[in-house]
Every structure is written in structure tokens, then in C-alpha cells.
Amino acid sequence: MPSPSSIPCLVVDDQQTMRSLVRTGLQQLGFRTIHEAPDGEEGLRHMLARPVQLVISDYNMPKLDGLGLLRAIRSHPPIQKTAFIMLTGRADKELVQRAVQFGVNNYLVKPFTVGTLKEKIEAIFGVLA
């Protein structure tokens, strides 16, 4: 049973407010090491410098969007196995299918609850301690 405190995370979203909300949700679930990035480029830079075990990324972002970030992570061997949850603003089947093709582990449609966030993470890591 993994402890959330042992799973470092990266939250990537161009909206500070959404990053804060996801951070607060993760903190409520027991996560302690939470980094943030405002777009895919920054997120990738962060991953290459300081890899994490879980990335929660928005899809709609400037510079490099969520799909671009996912593809970049999957193409860099040192970080390619990082768990990746895509945040989407709407239930877009085509987007989710493309994300699955690129190796996304799960997706989360906004708005979502902390309970749903927990379910999506547990589907990847197992039941959290």
C-alpha cells in the first residue's frame, strides 16, 4: 500500500487557481512533495531536472500542451515510465483516445472532486495508505 507522502508529484496547468486546487486536493490525500509548472515546456524542463513519480497535467496550455508533454515524457527513457494523469475541460473522447495512444495512465474531467482524484491515482498506484 503506497504512502502518498512517498510519491512526488508535478502539477502542470496554465491557471494558477487550478494548480492551487489540485495541490490542495493532493495535500488532502496525504501527498507532501508537490511541484508546479505553468505549461508543458516548463513541466518537461522540471521533469528532466527533477523527475517525479506522478504528473497531473492540463490538456489546454500554451507553448506545449498536455499531449505534447505526455509524448515528450514517453520519449525520454529516464522519465518515460512516469505515471501521467491528463486533466481535460470536457469529456472529449477523441482527446482521451489520443492520450491513450501516447501512453496516458488515466484522465480526469474537470470539474472533479477530491474523491475522484483519489480514485484515478489509486487506479495507477493501488490503494493509498
Binding site: D14, Q15, Q16, N60
Partner: protein, 187 residues
Amino acid sequence: MTLGLAGQSQGYDAEPRKIHVIQGQFHVAEGDDVVLTTILGSCVAACIRDPLTGIGGMNHFLLPGEAGDEGLRYGVQSMELLLNALLRKGCRRDRLEVKLFGGGHLFDGLSNVGGQNSDFAERFVRDEGLRHVGGSLRGDRARRIQYWPGSGRARQILLAPTEAKVLVTERRAPVAPTQDSGALELF
């Protein structure tokens, strides 16, 4: 030309085409022939535009978005959908101008949702680094808002206290025009 939910375009008319934005929705439009309208009690509407492209939009949300099991929704979602729609149409985030309206506390004795909505909207704009260029929040009156995305002009019409009851109707269906009782031109 109108973009977004309606997805239709039409030629120039002397009378602007009115698009009513109801609770939980947003609309993006451009051009001088369109006016976005809504009626607000405790709800808040954000009117956001890029002055260079002349594209703008309005949303209308019922509750703020705060952290909590049921909290990652409403205002945050509404603001994000509107911003994403604007950015997709070529607006640039660093040029966006925001006007905020609504957030009234209409009935004594009830929790001040309007105040919470207002606080959220102001905090959102500040945290996101957007330019808050005007509007009208809080107070104890319902409002009718008209917003011309092409020019950024906004007009607020305060409704008489007795007209607040129309807001209950609005939650079920778009509200028919009522008699104005305090027009105020803003900006």
C-alpha cells in the same frame, strides 16, 4: 461574427444581436453587432476580451470554486472554459481585460454567496495575473448586464428589489425583459 456555443454568423444589423448567457454557461463573440446579456443576483459574470482582436466573452457562475470534496468546480471551471475558448480564438492572455459583475447579497438572513462569489472572482483575476479593468460587484440589488465584446463597453441596469424574484425564474428558463429601474452606464 459570433463564435462559441451558438456557432452562427450573420451580417451587420443596426440593432445588435443579443445573446443571453444563462447560469452555468459562457459565450464568446466578436464584432460590434453582438451584445452579450445576463441577469445576476448572487451569481457573478466575468466579461473578458482581448482589445486587439476584438474578441470577448461572458460567463455566468453560481458558486465559487474552493478546495474541498465538492469544491473543484463551478467558478474555477467556468473561468477556465471561458479563458480557454478565448485563447483558442487567438486572444492573448497578457492582453485580456476583465470586468466583473454581480455577487449581490439580495436577501437578509441567507448566507452571503454573492460575497463569496465576488471574493473568488477578484482573487481569481489577481492570481491569474489578468487585468481587472472595471465592473460592479456586491451590493444588495440584482443586475441586468449588457456587454459588447467588440468594444468592451458594459452597461449595468440595477433592478428594483421586487424584481429579484425574477432570478428564481431565471434558474429555470431565460428571463423575459423586465422594466428597467436604474440604468447606469459604465465605462
